[in-house]
Subunit: 587 residues, 2 copies
């Protein structure tokens, strides 16, 4: 039996296959994906579930003239295999050639770099509108998972779609789970639709004015082909609701959908991860701390937007938290708005998410929280060059984003003890909206209890008093500051001043003023972009003075699948480079 996948170099090649061959192709792709992800890690469940639908889409439509937009695009592996990139999934030497998300730099079949959820309908509406303006006729298809549907941009897009009055095919890939279980009223509606074979009268999509087609078995290529053919060249927006099985074909993943949404390299036989677990991390530290806190105080409440694992809330710990943990689904804006409401009525909300996803809720942080001075606690994870490295997930922009919002107190702890002291202070105080930049990549623990009143805003900590050079080393970069300080001492015999600024959002003007006496140079170090960052506030303070200031951080660029050490070097962030710069300035 020939290996069909070998003959698929572009979607057109699919069209020559018969039903049986299409099914065999699905099996080949499934086997290849399991093997590939077992070696590289990656999004697993979403990709296994959508193989048949992807084959059917490419069988029916004519990509790249017809245009497919994959929401969040972590389910695009099969799409990539069918569009000229199969080697990236079959040939181990090429496993790193393609990103885990759609990417127009790789292929004409990809239209956008996408990694945040809930954007596909809006992007597809745009493609469709431009098509209409130009008088073209291609099909525009948005593929969106049920989990992504709850996001504001997706719902706005769903509401808008009708206005197009032209071709737009929204494939709702319903596998009945987000990253963790789904939350929200619309999921009852999806269930009612599944249970009624799509006939349930009160239909969310129809309520938005859209046509609707239901496919009971979204892993049945024949049924999918029929459905897609029925909507091809539609002159109105239409929803095709397909029910798929997340993790299909790998029984361990079928059983534990949450655990296999994304996975590290694993042993195919046992499903066990290949590398050992890495001990303590800030996620588990956070959940353990909050669970204790919740026990003692029924008004403490953790909020997640579909990522309970970010704050360390595994299934077991979610049970322990009970009603004191809310998962709002993918709905970051609502999460922050709701947090403000909770704080206003006397609750103690703690919202945790990745730096990159916090971007979703800038306005709510500013308006719902900060203007109202709601004492909300926001934990910002993955805010480091060492965190996620796909262009859409890089976490080095948060300081520039939120630290310039008035009345927010943004804290940057350097150790586990500082972190927990800050979280505790933030939960118990009533005056400030607070964000805390969870350190990365490692947990540094001193074992010493931290007793700082963080309510004395912008009081930096002088960790070593010296002269000539003062180093302000923020958060995760505190250890870099220590290393630079030690190097200076070892080279010159003189001790520089070393400061832990703690506060991202303000300047300790008194301390900064005092440094003018016996210092010539200030060094700022931050694990974020320079533009709009912490260092610039310090430099502005010294602008009219004789003090020289060197700001270290990253250039304002989008990074993609980078080596952190290279980025550090490109930005002169090694100890040697910093020493070199200092020596050039201070002879």
């Amino acid at each position: 039996m020939t290996y069909i996948l070998n003959h698929i170099n572009e979607p057109q090649d699919l069209k020559k296959l018969n039903g049986e061959q299409l099914n065999r192709l699905a099996s080949e792709i499934r086997e290849a994906l399991i093997k590939r992800v077992s070696i590289t890690g990656g999004h697993f469940g979403p990709n296994l579930g959508i193989i048949e639908a992807t084959i059917a889409l490419h069988y029916v439509f004519n990509s790249p003239i017809d245009k497919m937009v994959y929401d969040v695009s972590h389910q695009c592996y099969c799409h990539k295999m069918l569009t000229g990139r199969k080697e990236g999934f079959l040939d181990e030497s090429q496993f790193n050639q393609f990103s885990g998300f759609t990417n127009p730099d790789e292929s004409a079949h990809d239209y956008f770099k996408i990694g945040h959820t809930s954007t596909s309908i809006s992007l597809a509406c745009g493609l469709a509108k431009a098509r209409d303006l130009k008088g073209d006729k291609e099909n525009i298809i948005a593929v969106i998972g049920d989990g992504s549907l709850s996001g504001g941009e997706a719902l706005e897009g769903l509401d808008y779609a009708l206005e197009l009055q032209s071709n737009l095919i929204i494939v709702v890939n319903d596998n009945d789970i987000s990253i963790a279980e789904n939350h929200g009223g619309l999921y009852q509606n999806l269930k009612a639709l599944r249970d009624s074979n799509g006939t349930y009268e009160c239909n969310l999509f129809k309520a938005m004015g859209l046509d609707y087609v239901f496919v009971k078995d979204g892993n049945d290529i024949e049924a999918l082909v029929k459905a897609f053919q029925s909507v091809k060249d539609s002159t109105k927006p239409v929803v095709v609701h397909i029910c798929t099985q997340k993790g299909k074909g790998y029984s361990i993943a079928e059983q534990n959908k949450e655990g296999w949404h994304y996975c590290a390299p694993f042993d195919i036989e046992t499903g066990k991860p290949i590398a050992a677990h890495a001990g303590e991390n800030y996620s588990s530290i956070t959940a353990d701390y909050l669970l204790e806190k919740m026990k003692a105080d029924p008004t403490v409440i953790a909020i997640t937007s579909a990522g309970p694992g970010i704050m360390g809330f595994s299934k077991e710990k979610r049970k322990l938290a009970g009603g004191q943990l809310i998962d709002v689904g993918i709905a970051e804006e609502h999460a922050i708005g709701m947090a403000s409401g909770i704080a206003t009525n006397g609750g103690k909300p703690v919202y945790g998410t990745y730096s990159t996803f916090l971007q979703r809720t800038y306005d709510q942080i500013s308006q719902d929280v900060c203007i109202n001075k709601s004492p909300v606690t926001i934990l910002v994870y993955g805010a480091s060059i060492y965190a996620m490295r796909d262009i859409t997930h890089v976490g080095i922009y948060d300081i520039a984003m939120i630290s310039n919002i008035p009345d927010l107190v943004y804290l940057a702890p350097t150790t586990k003890e500082e972190y927990l002291a800050m979280v505790d202070w933030s939960i118990e105080q009533n005056e400030y909206p607070v964000a805390i930049r969870v350190p990365a990549p490692n947990v540094i623990s001193t074992g010493e209890k931290v007793e700082i009143d963080f309510g004395k805003l912008n009081a930096y900590q002088v960790k070593q008093k010296g002269s000539k050079v003062a180093i302000l080393a923020l958060g995760s970069f505190y250890t870099l500051g220590e290393e630079v300080a030690e190097k200076i001492t070892s080279l010159t015999g003189e001790k520089p001043t070393l400061i832990n600024p703690i506060y991202v959002t303000g300047v300790d003007e008194k301390l900064m003023e005092s440094l003018k006496k016996d210092h010539d140079l200030i060094i700022t170090l931050e694990d974020g972009i320079l533009d709009g960052g912490f260092g610039e506030k310090i430099t502005r303070f010294y602008g009219p003075s004789d003090m020289k200031v060197l700001n270290y951080g990253y250039k304002k660029t989008f990074l993609d699948r980078y080596n952190p050490e290279e980025v550090l070097e490109e930005n002169r962030l090694t100890v040697e480079q910093i020493i070199e710069d200092i020596e050039r300035l201070i002879k």
Copy 2:
């Protein structure tokens, strides 16, 4: 006949009134509101339409124990009159005492400062959740207009509400219009519900899992009281869909709902504004320019999120634009996502909104547009201390917000000619996402054609070559820079260098380097907050050098109903203060 309103000092006083008295009260309030807004200006239509509902809410519920959250809160005038603040609407000497939005600083009956739309359901969910955690039992009520329903945060909240499994009353105030006409599929659903007396089976709210009550005449106090009584102390989230008439009781406003959403002081008899129209403004300039452009190029398309007037698209001009103007409704995220899609498929999208509302779509600007380098044009209006002055609407935070997003080109024109040249360049180029900071408050026109290739990024314009002091005067503050330059010359006989930086997002490093030769001091002027702003980039450039730099802009605070001249003075932004500072530094 006694004047009932005189006896209403708190909501409890309402409860003593009979039906006829409640109706008389509504008339008194209506008359008072018309008179008051005719003198002060303000939100008119929304307030006239919701008088009866507000009376009924306060009659049935027990504020402030029961808690009401008014979405966007520009319909809260009647609420204020019933909650101890009637003098602010009856006594001309107190007309400025209370803000036009809910404000907890004014009254225990207000829970949030709100001015952006679509937040009420999320905020109310938070109040409800905290209530449940504390074991309290009060009613939580969100009042949201049909126009606000299309916003992502509102839809996220609507989806989430069911999860509460406890009391939450969502009053949907449906007057069948947003600021302009509604757009989106959900409005067909509202219409079907109105037309069927609430019985239409496919019901958006029920599809979200919510209970539903319909009130055909939302200006009938008796019917409203009955409906609210039926849901009072409900143990599940419920939507009360009431149909009201925007502008009710002032026939000119009933006829022209869009024109009377907000109004300037006017003559009650004729409806004519009291002050004469202020001639040319950037809104009409923009629409006129775009209409020409659209005629010549069918792929040019303007996008608004429920504020077509911001870009100057009056009803007449909307007709001229036809399908080349899209109103997506209140849905800023979708607007930007869709713009990216349009640009990707060869269209030329121009999205215009106020600085303050652009906050709604930070993530989409970063992810959907900038990561994808989509050549979208974003026009940022009201980005000035002279623009809107309510705390929720102040427009001085945009530079800090968007100028630190990689790959965005943010331009700050100083004149009408520069502005139009930039818009034209941006529409025609294919390389960069571009935002343009529409100048404020006045239109300055030189009559000279601007021929700059803005694609040569970060090439500042030296308008006057001098020495010692260089002034970088950005956008709207260019005239301030000119004044400072003149003053220096008149005082010292020496000419300073005067620069129009044009680019908010980057530093002209070559020019800045060259200034080191014969300049000792750099002045930066920007009509925005200093933190994360333009000036700090300049200061960082000079950090390691001997150059002294003074950054002028605003302190990072929330301002509310301020006098611009006072704010300028507080931030040392008068010509005299700047000269003083310069003299102190350069002896």
